[in-house]
């Protein structure tokens, strides 16, 4: 009944028939794309592709998503190193025409908000000098994306199919491990795939796990000057078409976890038998649940290529 059609009935019959012969575009491919955009200055200042080139590829991609269907929706969340913010929402910004500068409304609105965001993020960074790290706040933008999607889910039965796309370049921040894993599991629970387009030099273990667990696509484009082509080829695929398209498969996912005590990525560690918290060294007492950990149980976790993710 999600389509508002009767279980039987003339319209259903005609509809089914039309869908059968592929005569019409169906509602199946209407998508809500929530994009997390990495704006980490520490990464972009050292990277080979300039941020403005990157943005121009991404903008064309976002515009093409909106072009595909009138009902498609795009939300962009900027991921800085100190904060995250919604910088674009196509359902709010309805003006279709162009403004004076000759750019589509999408581009000018998004760029303006992005500039504001980057300036604010920098201010925050100055306020807490020593907190500046090279990683960006992926956990924050993932949670914001999921919150947005939850709101859409509750808006009624006729919502577009949501998915999250992480455009990430900065290396993982192990200190965000728990928050990111929690986001990933809640995405998995609400069947929201997390796609990851990782442009940094080494693979991102977090994003590999995120895409693997939620059934999304993890892809690292080998050539960055054709980024738009990769984006449109791989990440523009709606969830409906994914069932019958050949898309990049992940080979070898890095399942290593971070320890809760020093936030370091570890191959082997100690696990609390009650709450499954992970520690790199032995503690008398679990810092998460307070349960005493017997000395004799060093646990083995986080085998590479091992299908078992966290609990």
């Amino acid at each position: 009944m999600a389509l508002g059609l009767g279980s039987t009935g003339a319209r259903t019959y005609l509809y089914a028939e039309l869908v059968e012969i592929g005569e019409i575009a169906t509602r199946d491919d209407v998508s809500l794309l929530v994009v997390s955009l990495d704006t980490n200055p520490f990464f972009w200042s050292t990277f080979s592709l300039s941020f403005s080139d990157f943005i121009s590829h991404v903008l064309a991609f976002l515009n093409s998503i909106l072009l595909l269907s009138q009902l498609n929706q795009v939300v962009v969340i900027a991921t800085g190193c100190n904060s995250c913010a919604y910088i674009y929402d196509s359902s709010v910004d309805s003006s279709h025409g162009s403004d004076t500068s000759g750019m589509p409304a999408l581009y000018s609105n998004l760029l303006r908000k992005l500039e504001e965001f980057v300036a604010r993020d920098e201010q925050l960074g100055k306020a807490q000098m020593q907190g500046a790290t090279a990683s960006s706040l992926l956990s924050g933008s993932l949670s914001m994306a999921l919150c947005y999607i939850q709101r859409v889910f509750r808006s009624g039965p006729l919502h577009p199919q949501p998915r999250i796309l992480c455009l990430q370049g900065s290396p993982d921040g192990p200190e965000q491990y728990v928050a990111i894993m929690n986001s990933i599991f809640s995405a998995q629970r609400s069947t929201v795939p997390i796609d990851s387009c990782y442009i940094g030099s080494n693979n991102s273990a977090f994003l590999q796990q995120a895409s693997y667990i939620t059934g999304g696509i993890y892809y690292r484009p080998p050539q960055l000057d054709g980024l738009f082509q990769y984006l449109s080829m791989v990440f523009a695929t709606d969830l409906h078409s994914r069932a019958f398209l050949r898309l990049p498969k992940s080979v070898g996912v890095d399942f290593r976890a971070s320890c809760f005590c020093h936030k370091q990525t570890i191959d082997m560690g100690y696990v609390c038998s009650v709450c499954l918290s992970i520690f790199c060294e032995h503690h008398q007492k679990c810092s998460t649940c307070g349960k005493y950990i017997p000395k004799f149980c060093p646990a083995y976790r986080g085998d590479k290529h091992n299908g078992n993710a966290l609990g």
Binding site: T8, G9, A10, S64, Q70, G97, L245
Partner: protein, 459 residues
């Protein structure tokens, strides 16, 4: 029964049937490319996007590698559609291998649209000139009212208080397949007419627009120009005013008809006049399945087969009464009627009449479901199960006897001949009945000649 399925197909079929020259001209307009793109099946859209920046031919073989084995048929449908619309240009080389390339005009327009955004040929008028613009809700109400008024005029011309300006000849065109005119009798709805009324607004709109376009050549209007204008119109912003002077003479003629259908609202200021697109217009480029414009329902069906229709709309009343006005066409036995309420009951007799007129039980049920009153629409099912089941049962009651034309054979000379004839009929899959004691048999008409020839050869 091909006549029964009046599917309101969309523009794109008409676009696809246009000559190549005209199509390429249409694709110069970025908005038309966008509308075409949106009408494609999901895979088709994806392929256009994928090929957007590829300037070389892509062979069919390498495209096959894009999909999984189960998707091959879907891909074929998508590519056929793309070729049909001339979005893909197909070339066959000497080895008889196909390869595809995006139509250069289409490609250029779409690339431009993607990077620079599109600009409509006209800008909305500034608000200091246009006074008293209607709000969005008013506009939607206006569009629906205009549409209902049109429908009412379509099904019973004498009922309308303020007839629209649609010429009677054009009205005749719309009525062509929906109403049958017999001498000295009031026009009656045909089977397709009933189905038309039971469709939702968007589907109805499609049907009417299609008739409008297919008739355009007869009125001396260029179909390509008409289609391109309608598609362009669908990209205007709802509720904004656009100056009439920006239209060509040709378009100005058409916009009047569109105003009568409720697609645009015409307004006149002191000096200028303008048109305001409504939701109906912007829905045009949305494909058929996206007709998510849910109307507020008005029908409550109770488990005791009582039907309450809360409506002041003349059209609703007319649709329900239509079934009862002519003695032969009941959907409801109307018991009483108040200014905003019609009360009736679904009975066996009323439905038998509906079935006789070619309405199926599924159509009746989906009509009741689609128009369920908000208070019952949340319930699942919105129409009580015992009612829907009974409606289906009553329909199947009518189909208990199946008629087959047949030939009856008797007086066989011997049992061997009889049995051989039975076998022969069985082989042709045409033996309906046999009585081996009395040596009688009945075969379908289609196989009669075979059996007869066979018996002749036996002699």
């Amino acid at each position: 029964m091909p006549e029964v399925r009046i599917i309101a197909k969309n523009f794109m079929d008409m676009v696809a049937s246009m000559p190549a020259m005209k199509l390429d001209k249409l694709y110069d307009n970025g908005f038309i490319c966008e509308a075409i793109l949106r009408s494609l099946p999901p895979l088709g859209k994806k392929y256009v996007l994928q090929m957007l920046h590829i300037d070389v031919q892509v062979t069919a073989k390498s495209m096959e590698e894009w999909v999984l084995p189960d998707g091959i048929s879907k891909q074929k449908v998508a590519i056929d559609r793309l070729v049909q619309l001339r979005v893909f240009i197909e070339t066959v080389d000497r080895k008889n291998e196909k390869s595809y390339k995006l139509n250069p005009t289409f490609q250029r327009s779409l690339q431009k649209l993607l990077v620079n955004g599109g600009t409509l040929p006209r800008e909305p008028m500034p608000s200091n000139i246009t006074v008293r613009l209607p709000g969005l809700e008013d506009l939607e109400a206006y569009a629906l009212e205009q549409w209902e008024c049109f429908l009412l005029q379509l099904i019973s011309s004498n009922q309308v208080e303020r007839p629209s300006n649609i010429s009677s000849s054009l009205m005749k065109v719309f009525q062509r397949r929906l109403m049958s005119q017999r001498d000295r009798e009031p026009p009656r709805l045909t089977e397709s007419g009933f189905q038309f009324l039971l469709m939702d607004t968007n589907a109805q709109l499609w049907y009417i627009i299609r008739e409008y376009i297919s008739n355009s050549e007869a009125r001396g209007v260029d179909a390509a120009e008409l289609i391109s204008f309608l598609l362009e119109l669908s990209f205007h912003v709802i509720g904004e005013a656009y100056n009439i002077n920006t239209l060509t003479d040709f378009q100005r003629n058409i916009i009047k008809d569109l105003a009568d259908l409720g697609l645009v609202k015409l307004q006149q200021g002191r000096k200028e006049s303008w048109f305001i697109p409504t939701k109906l217009a912007t829905n045009l480029s949305v494909s058929l399945a996206d007709s998510s414009s849910r109307k507020e329902g008005f029908v409550v069906v109770e488990t005791n087969f009582r039907v309450y229709a809360y409506s002041t709309s003349k059209l609703h009343c007319e649709i329900l009464r239509l079934f009862s006005r002519y003695a032969t066409k009941h959907l409801l036995n109307v018991e009483y009627q108040l200014p905003n309420l019609i009360v009736g009951a679904i009975t066996k007799e009323s439905l038998y009449n509906a079935f006789e007129n070619g309405i199926t039980s599924d159509q009746i049920i989906s009509f009741l479901q689609q128009n369920a009153h908000p208070r019952v629409a949340e319930r699942i099912p919105s129409v009580p199960e015992n009612v829907t089941d009974q409606i289906r049962l009553w329909e199947s009651d009518l189909n208990r006897v199946e008629m087959t034309e047949a030939y009856y054979y008797d007086e066989f000379p011997s049992r061997d001949v009889f049995e051989a004839a039975c076998d022969c009929a069985r082989e042709w899959n045409g033996l309906l009945w046999e009585d081996s004691k009395k040596m009688h048999m009945v075969v379908k008409t289609e196989v009669h000649t075979h059996v007869r020839d066979y018996l002749r050869r036996q002699k």
